[in-house]
Symmetry: C2
Subunit: 160 residues, 2 copies
């Protein structure tokens, strides 16, 4: 096998759903969503996006690469923070328009730019609980790292 990744042409539903050819579908912006979970616990760490180059680099290196929508650049996760994601398993879904990375973390157990372990650090009350209160509930109380120390003056990626 070469040092390139070949994305196959999408020919039929059967090929895409039941085949062994990698034929991912990128959206109108050239992106595919990527769910990242912590291999040891199954916790969802983040939902990111990859362009072709990011998916190719992830496959070739075994380290998670994303496309930063706020900065519009290829983003080797952990290049700034040191918290790299080592891919233990990369999955693709039935219609090949989403991927799932199960990862181990290097450095601190942290993936979220706000300083928490997971980006999903708050719960939304549902059903009967929602009737009692509609306020978000923090599931992580303490930050794992100080974003100011790690990122310095890098602009916050959150957009309103």
């Amino acid at each position: 096998m070469s040092e390139k990744v070949e994305f196959k042409k999408r020919i039929s539903v059967e090929q895409v759903e039941e085949g062994t050819e990698l034929a991912p579908k990128f959206d109108d912006n050239g992106l595919i969503p990527a769910v990242t979970t912590l291999a040891a616990t199954g916790e969802v760490l983040m939902l990111g996006y990859m362009n072709k180059e990011a998916l190719e680099k992830t496959i070739l290196t075994g380290e998670a690469h994303y496309f930063s929508r706020s900065r519009q650049i290829l983003w080797h996760k952990g290049a700034d923070s040191g918290f790299k994601q080592i891919v233990k398993d990369l999955r693709i879904d039935d219609d090949q328009d989403a991927v799932w990375l199960s990862v181990e973390l290097l450095g601190k157990d942290a993936s979220c730019h706000v300083g928490y372990r997971s980006c999903f650090y708050r719960s939304v009350p549902t059903a009967g609980d929602h009737k009692k209160s509609d306020e978000l509930i923090f599931r992580e109380r303490e930050k794992v790292f100080d974003p100011k120390q790690v990122y310095g003056d890098v602009p916050n990626p959150t957009k309103l």
Copy 2:
């Protein structure tokens, strides 16, 4: 609390990231991506999308609702197949543009229209493994149900 869900206006990064107000960001198509995992195992079952109505109904009922992009309709998961998803925990991410549902399944342990338990039933080889073979590897060998029996003539949602 009323039988409605109030989505707050997004005012500041601090409110969105560090607050307890639900202020989700829907994309240009009015959708927010939703990752769904199996509560018992952490396995990612599917990546779907919700519009405002789907997120509202999920919060109010505690049962997963999505917006079907292929059919362009609100989609109460399991209404056709019987395989409903009962939400054990609903999370929202740092910038509130993605949600994570941890669910239990009713009926069979199945979430994928192709018949598998998870939509992510194939792995993509990475790094050294990719050099040996670039073919997708099936991680589920047997289908949990027969899609023809469950869905009959409902059109396949996969688009090329």
